[in-house]
């Protein structure tokens, strides 16, 4: 549906000369299939919005290729650059960009009215189309209302209706939920996902909110510094982070260094660390002796009062140094030799500081990330 190949976009650097240009998007390639909700996830400045805006035609990339369906929107080699207003894509902006001087109906009808006279819909068809799309987002009863009188959630639906009214082959969503309050955001998350699935819309979704990304996406591409760090289904990206950045950005992780001892199975390795041996999983092909970082999420660290009955790989003894009650869980800070770990436990388990504990690091939750050298 959408193919981006080797997209590069740079901005003038602080000195303004060629050498100091900042690469906002650095050779990004993605492939979005029809009907997918494809999320670009990353911190601000990672290039996700620039990528999206390049697809929309609001940024002129330096080089690369953007193809939607069978239409080439941008190709630096063939010198193709279709302007934004000829791409026919739908886009929902972070600020919704609702035109304050128009009412709800006029906002939605705008894309239809600016089409060239030859392809423009008749008055009746236009009204029908606008009313249908307003019904889809449940704003049909507000069509005559001034756009600025709508609540945040309604403005968000209005922006969506306006983006959908052209029946675009691809919907671009630029942090559409970030301006809503927390409760409404959760509600809209499901609503948006349901609409996308029911209408079978292909969508690119840009967000810095990992929870949003995990909840809504078919595929997540995690970006950092203009580069895609990992692409995968939400579950894979969460459970098998391919880099330290991904593990840290999505949820939180414990990290410690180790060296691969030997392979134990297709993706299972034995790793020796300063505090003892563990078993761990990795999608990488690692040779014995490879330096790795072990990543494990706090909720996967299991602790139990008392010393371990039988120490072994991934079963360590340690001590609680602090705890914090977080409402739905209890966070424990642990100490294993010189290593500090965090464990997030069910509220049933709450151990005071200085309790001797046994710690279990299950091999399926310990991910190995090569350290690079």
């Amino acid at each position: 549906m959408l193919t981006i190949t080797d997209l590069v976009k740079s901005y003038p650097g602080p000195k303004g000369d060629k050498a100091s240009r900042v690469l906002a998007v650095d050779n990004v390639s993605i492939e979005v299939e029809e009907g997918q909700l494809y999320t670009l996830l990353g911190p601000s400045g990672c290039g996700k919005t620039t990528t999206l805006r390049s697809v929309a035609g609001l940024e002129d990339p330096d080089s690369g290729r953007i193809v939607v369906g069978d239409k080439t929107f941008y190709d630096s080699e063939k010198q193709v650059l279709v302007p934004a207003n000829k791409r026919g894509l739908g886009m929902v902006f972070q600020s919704y960009a609702i035109w304050p001087h128009m009412n709800v109906y006029d906002n939605v009808a705008f894309p239809l009215t600016v089409e060239s006279r030859s392809t423009r819909l008749g008055k009746k068809e236009m009204t029908e189309r606008v009313e249908r799309v307003l019904a889809v987002v449940q704003l049909d009863h507000l069509a005559g209302r001034q756009a600025t009188d709508l609540s945040g959630g309604q403005q968000q639906r209005l922006a969506l209706a306006r983006a959908l009214v052209m029946q675009p082959p691809l919907l671009l969503l630029d942090e559409p939920l970030s301006n809503l309050d927390a409760k409404l955001r959760e509600e809209m998350r499901f609503e948006l996902k349901r609409l996308q699935r029911d209408l079978n819309i292909t969508a690119i979704y840009v967000t810095h909110d990992q929870v949003e990304a995990l909840a809504m996406s078919n595929v997540i591409a995690v970006m950092n510094g203009g580069v895609i760090e990992q692409v995968g289904r939400p579950r894979d990206v969460y459970n098998r982070p391919a880099s330290k950045f991904v593990a840290d950005f999505i949820g939180s992780s414990n990290f410690f260094d180790g060296v691969v001892d030997r392979r134990e199975g297709t993706d299972r390795y034995a790793v020796s660390t300063d505090e003892g041996e563990i078993f761990a999983t990795s999608q990488y092909d690692l040779a014995p002796g490879a330096k790795v970082t072990v990543a494990i999420r706090p909720e996967h660290v299991q602790i139990e009062e008392g010393r371990p009955e039988q120490a072994g790989p991934g079963i360590w003894s340690g001590r609680v140094t602090a705890r914090a009650f977080l409402g739905d869980s209890v966070e424990h800070k642990l100490e294993v030799g010189k290593l500090e770990l965090q464990a997030r436990c069910h509220t049933d388990l709450s151990l005071p500081a200085n309790t001797e504990i046994s710690i279990v690091l299950p091999p399926e939750w310990c991910s190995l990330i090569p350290t690079g050298e």
Partner: protein, 586 residues
């Protein structure tokens, strides 16, 4: 939100059907693009702005430094050789600095009192701040002649029993300073009100809490915090005063107190007119104002880093003036009586008299509207009215449309060199009205198309003079429109012109309208460039009033002035009403 979600599965059937395949465009510049309204309008606006800003200045330099013999400094010798350069510079500097000090001190004090204390009569102060918008400078100056001239001044007559005849003499440097300063004080007031509003009041409140007295807080906390704004106000006023023409011409010239502006007018109004000499004075004046504006922009850019703006929407609790409250209230009333009531009264009174007499019971009971009849019956005065409003409305419309496009270029586009458009549009800010007049004379006196001697030269001059103000209004509103509003129109398939017409222009309307009305209001009283550029038949109102003053037609002048003031009051009122109704609700 409470409704059960009902999605019509057929609502957007056949979603992926696309638009007709877009034609790929070459990325190199295509001359056919000029037919596209975007390119055409942008190119036209940039060319016009560049022409209006640069051509007069180039001609001014050329006309001053070149004569039939080639490059020469003769004009400067004539300008500064014969009469004392020292006195001219001294007068100009003392006048500009003095008037600036008067207006800055008064304006700042008034602003502090209304914004930070529980001073009475706040609404009166704000209403009074509209006065310079309503009473043109030339009328204000003339009014003061009839209040404080040694022989016939009303105030002098009042004071005669106590201090003898001629207590005040308005035809002195001090008279000029005070009249000009009072006329401009409301502008400083508005600038400083804005500055005080953007300052965090808790800084002052905490000083008050620490036990400091109110004057102490003002001196030790408020003033230092307001220093950048104060400095900016000082520079703005200094430039405005050095450019001022009405006060020096009417109050200074009779007693031979020359400043740059009155001098320029003098060498051009005596026969034969010495254009080179006028050019020489103009260039000196231009250097001074450029320097002022340069420091002002530099300082305000630097000042931004120290701004103490808080986003909090709370209004500070006014500091109590205590037992001085009524005393200060009385002083305020007195100031308003002197600065506003008396000048307005004397104009109105004059307009009802057959010839000027010092007001007395006898004259006050013997009123006539003969002068108003004269204004309406006389084709010349009515023509001046029409000329002024036609010029004002056309220049305002041209400026606002042009600057709307230009501000789009500067704020929104990514075109290289867009900063130049911004700078070019601001160039006329440094050109005093008289200097622009001189420069336009140089350009159009020998121009192949007859522009000199028609209304066109006045239109060109007005459009040039008010372009910077239009640009400021337009770009301020352009910055307030989120870029995404425009981008979403683009993504929706709108062309540049469709986006500009249907998204930008309607959203800019409040700002453009405010600028439009401001330009109409300032241009209908424009004197300093018109006085050099008008020709018989093309008189505008201010020129008419100036001529009537020189002819001694004081009472007719007062009637014409009163009518002009009424027209301006209606405009101000309309502006505030329109602004309130058209303003985009947010």
């Amino acid at each position: 939100m409470s409704q059960a979600p009902t999605t019509d599965r057929n609502a957007l059937d056949a979603l992926p059907t696309g638009n007709p395949p877009p034609k790929p465009k070459r990325m190199r510049f295509d001359w056919r693009k000029l037919r596209d309204p975007k390119t055409f309008i942008i190119v036209a606006v940039v060319l016009v702005i560049g022409y209006l800003s640069l051509v007069p200045l180039l001609y001014l330099l050329w006309g001053t430094f070149f004569d039939s013999t080639g490059l020469t400094g003769a004009a400067f010798e004539r300008a500064y050789g014969t009469t004392g350069l020292g006195e001219l510079v001294y007068n100009s500097m003392v006048f500009a600095t003095g008037a600036t000090l008067v207006s800055v001190v008064m304006g700042t004090l008034l602003a502090f009192l209304t914004e930070r204390t529980d001073v009475p009569l706040k609404r009166l102060i704000f209403a009074g701040s509209l006065i310079p918008l309503i009473i043109p400078g030339i009328l204000y100056t003339i009014a003061w002649i009839f209040l404080a001239s040694p022989r016939i001044g009303l105030i002098n007559k009042w004071l005669e029993p106590f201090f003898g005849p001629g207590t005040f003499d308005v035809f002195t440097l001090y008279g000029m300073i005070i009249v000009q300063g009072m006329d401009n004080a409301p502008l400083v007031f508005l600038l400083m009100v804005a500055a005080f509003r953007s300052m965090d009041p808790s800084l002052e409140e905490s000083a008050l809490m620490s036990g400091a007295s109110l004057p102490h807080v003002f001196r030790k906390v408020t003033l230092p915090l307001a220093k950048p704004a104060l400095f900016a106000a000082f520079l703005i006023m200094a430039v405005k005063n050095i450019e001022a023409f009405e006060t020096p011409a009417l109050l200074g010239m009779p007693k031979g107190i020359w400043v740059f502006t009155s001098r320029i007018w003098r060498v051009l109004s005596t026969h034969p007119a010495d254009y080179g000499q006028a050019g020489a004075y103009s260039i000196s004046l231009l250097l001074i104002t450029s320097l002022g504006i340069y420091f002002q922009t530099r300082y305000s850019r630097r000042g931004k880093q120290f701004q103490t703006v808080t986003g909090k929407g709370f209004r500070p609790r006014p500091m109590p003036l205590g037992r001085f409250r009524s005393l200060i209230g009385g002083a305020l009333l007195f100031y308003f009586f002197i600065a506003i009531v008396l000048p307005a009264f004397i104009l109105l009174y004059m307009s009802t008299q057959p010839f000027y007499q010092v007001p007395s019971i006898e004259t006050m009971t013997n009123l006539s509207f003969e002068n108003y009849r004269y204004v309406f019956d006389h084709s010349q005065t009515m023509r001046a009215f029409r000329n002024s409003f036609v010029l004002g409305i056309s220049s305002a419309t041209l400026v606002m449309f042009g600057t709307a496009v230009a501000s789009w270029l500067v704020v929104r586009s990514k075109l290289p060199g867009r900063w130049m458009v911004d700078n070019l549009a601001f160039v006329p800010l440094v050109i005093p009205g008289l200097v622009l007049g001189v420069a336009l004379l140089f350009v159009y006196l020998r121009f192949p198309i007859a522009i000199y001697g028609t209304m066109w030269i006045l239109l060109i001059s007005y459009v040039t003079r008010y372009m910077p103000y239009g640009m400021r209004y337009a770009s301020t509103s352009m910055y307030q429109i989120g870029g995404e509003l425009e981008e979403s129109a683009q993504v929706s398939g709108a062309t540049w012109w469709q986006t500009f017409r249907r998204i930008n222009l309607p959203l800019l309307v409040p700002g453009l309208l405010a600028g439009w009305i401001y330009i109409v209001m300032t241009s209908v009283r424009e004197l300093s460039s018109s006085i050099l550029l008008y020709s018989p038949g093309n008189e505008v109102l201010a020129v008419m009033i100036f001529e009537q003053y020189e002819n001694g037609q004081f009472t007719e002048l007062a009637a014409l002035g009163t009518l002009l003031i009424v027209a301006l009051v209606i405009l101000v009122y309309a502006a505030q009403r329109l602004g309130a109704n058209i303003g985009v609700k947010s």
